[in-house]
C-alpha cells in the first residue's frame, strides 16, 4: 500500500455510518485498499460504540452548570481582590525599603553616637505614639496573615 490516504475515505465512513452505500461508492471501496481498511476498522469501532452507548448516560446538566457558576464567582472574587493584593505587595516593599534606609542611616551616623545625641525618644508623648504605631502594625499584620492562611489563597476572605 503506497498511498496513505484517499479523498473518498470520509465519504466511505459516512456512508457506513448512515447505512447508505451507493453502488458507485461501493465499487470504489472494493477497489481502494485504504477505504476498505477504513470501513473495516470503522465498522468494528462503531459496533462496539453502539453496544456501549446505553451505558453512556451523561450526568445531569446542572452539575456542569453549578460548577461553572462556582468558577465564575471564584474568578470574580480574584479580580475584585487584585487591588488588595497589589496594596499588600506595595506595603511589604515599602516596609523593606524603610528598614533598609533606617539601617543605612544608623550605619552612617554611628549607632552609639546617634543614641547619645538623640533626645527625641526622651519625650514621654513620643514614646507613647511610637508604641501605639508599632502595636497597630503588629495587630494589622497578624490579622492579614491569619486571614490569608484561612482562605488559603493569599487574599482576604471579605
Amino acid at each position: 500500500m503506497n498511498r496513505r490516504w484517499c479523498e473518498r475515505e470520509s465519504d466511505a465512513v459516512q456512508a457506513l455510518r448512515a447505512g447508505l452505500l451507493s453502488p458507485e461508492l461501493s465499487s470504489h471501496v472494493l477497489s481502494c485498499a485504504i477505504c476498505a481498511e477504513a470501513q473495516a476498522v470503522a465498522q468494528v469501532m462503531l459496533r462496539a460504540a453502539s453496544l456501549r452507548s446505553a451505558e453512556h448516560e451523561p450526568p445531569p446538566f446542572d452539575l456542569a452548570w453549578r460548577r461553572a457558576e462556582a468558577r465564575r464567582k471564584e474568578i470574580a472574587l480574584k479580580r475584585a481582590t487584585r487591588p488588595l493584593i497589589f496594596m499588600r505587595v506595595l506595603s511589604v516593599v515599602y516596609a523593606m525599603v524603610s528598614v533598609a534606609w533606617f539601617l543605612h542611616y544608623l550605619w552612617r551616623a554611628g549607632f552609639v553616637e546617634l543614641l547619645s545625641n538623640w533626645t527625641v525618644l526622651q519625650g514621654e508623648a513620643t514614646c507613647f505614639a511610637a508604641a501605639i504605631a508599632v502595636l497597630s502594625i503588629v495587630i494589622g499584620a497578624g490579622y492579614l496573615l491569619r486571614d490569608s492562611r484561612r482562605t488559603g489563597e493569599g487574599v482576604p476572605s471579605t
Partner: protein, 178 residues
C-alpha cells in the same frame, strides 16, 4: 436590577430572567452534545469516572469562556477541542495514559467485538485513540479532526493513517484483514 437586551418594543429582561434563559440554552446544548462527548471521553480514557469529570469540566470551561455565538457544528467541534485539551493535560501530568475499562461484560450482546476493541484500545497510544474515535465513530473529516484536536489537516492524515494501520492489525486479523 439590571436592564438587559433593551430591544425596542420588548420589555427589558431582568438579570434573573437572563440567567434563566442562559440556563435553558445551555440545557438544550448539553442535551444535544453531551452524549457523543461522553462517548468520546470514555472511548479514549476507558474510565467512566474520569470521563464524567472531564465532561463536566469541558462544559464548565465552555461556560466560563463564553465564546462568541457559534453555529451548532462549530460549537460541537469547540467542545471536542476543549475535551481533547483536557485529555492532553491529564496525559502531560502522566495521570493515566493506559486505557482501562472496568465495565461489566454481562450486558454485552457482542462479547467478541467488545473484547477486540478493548484489547486494541489498550495497545494504542492516546492520540491514536483520539483520532480513530473522531474519524470513525464521530465521522469527522480531516479538517474537522484538525479543528477538534488542534492538529493541521496534513498531520491528521499522516497520524490517522498510522493509527488505522495499527488498529487494523489489532482488530482485523481474526476477521477480514484487508
Amino acid at each position: 436590577m439590571d436592564e438587559s437586551f433593551p430591544i425596542a418594543g420588548l420589555v427589558p429582561l431582568t438579570e434573573k430572567e437572563v440567567a434563566a434563559m442562559e440556563e435553558q440554552e445551555f440545557r438544550s446544548l448539553y442535551d444535544a452534545t453531551a452524549r457523543p462527548i461522553l462517548g468520546y471521553l470514555v472511548g479514549v480514557t476507558g474510565r467512566r469516572e474520569v470521563a464524567d469529570d472531564l465532561l463536566q469540566e469541558t462544559y464548565c470551561r465552555f461556560l466560563v469562556r463564553q465564546p462568541p455565538t457559534m453555529g451548532r457544528d462549530e460549537t460541537r467541534r469547540y467542545l471536542f477541542r476543549i475535551a481533547t485539551n483536557l485529555l492532553r493535560d491529564r496525559w502531560r501530568r502522566r495521570d493515566d495514559e493506559s486505557w482501562q475499562d472496568a465495565a461489566e461484560d454481562r450486558f454485552c450482546v457482542d462479547f467478541d467485538t467488545q473484547m477486540d476493541v478493548r484489547a486494541a484500545m489498550r495497545a494504542l497510544k492516546p492520540r491514536e485513540r483520539e483520532l480513530l474515535w473522531l474519524a470513525y465513530v464521530e465521522g469527522m473529516n480531516h479538517a474537522e479532526i484538525g479543528a477538534a484536536t488542534g492538529l493541521r489537516a496534513i498531520s491528521v492524515r499522516m497520524l490517522l493513517f498510522r493509527a488505522r494501520q495499527k488498529a487494523a492489525g489489532l482488530l482485523l486479523p481474526k476477521r477480514e484483514k484487508v
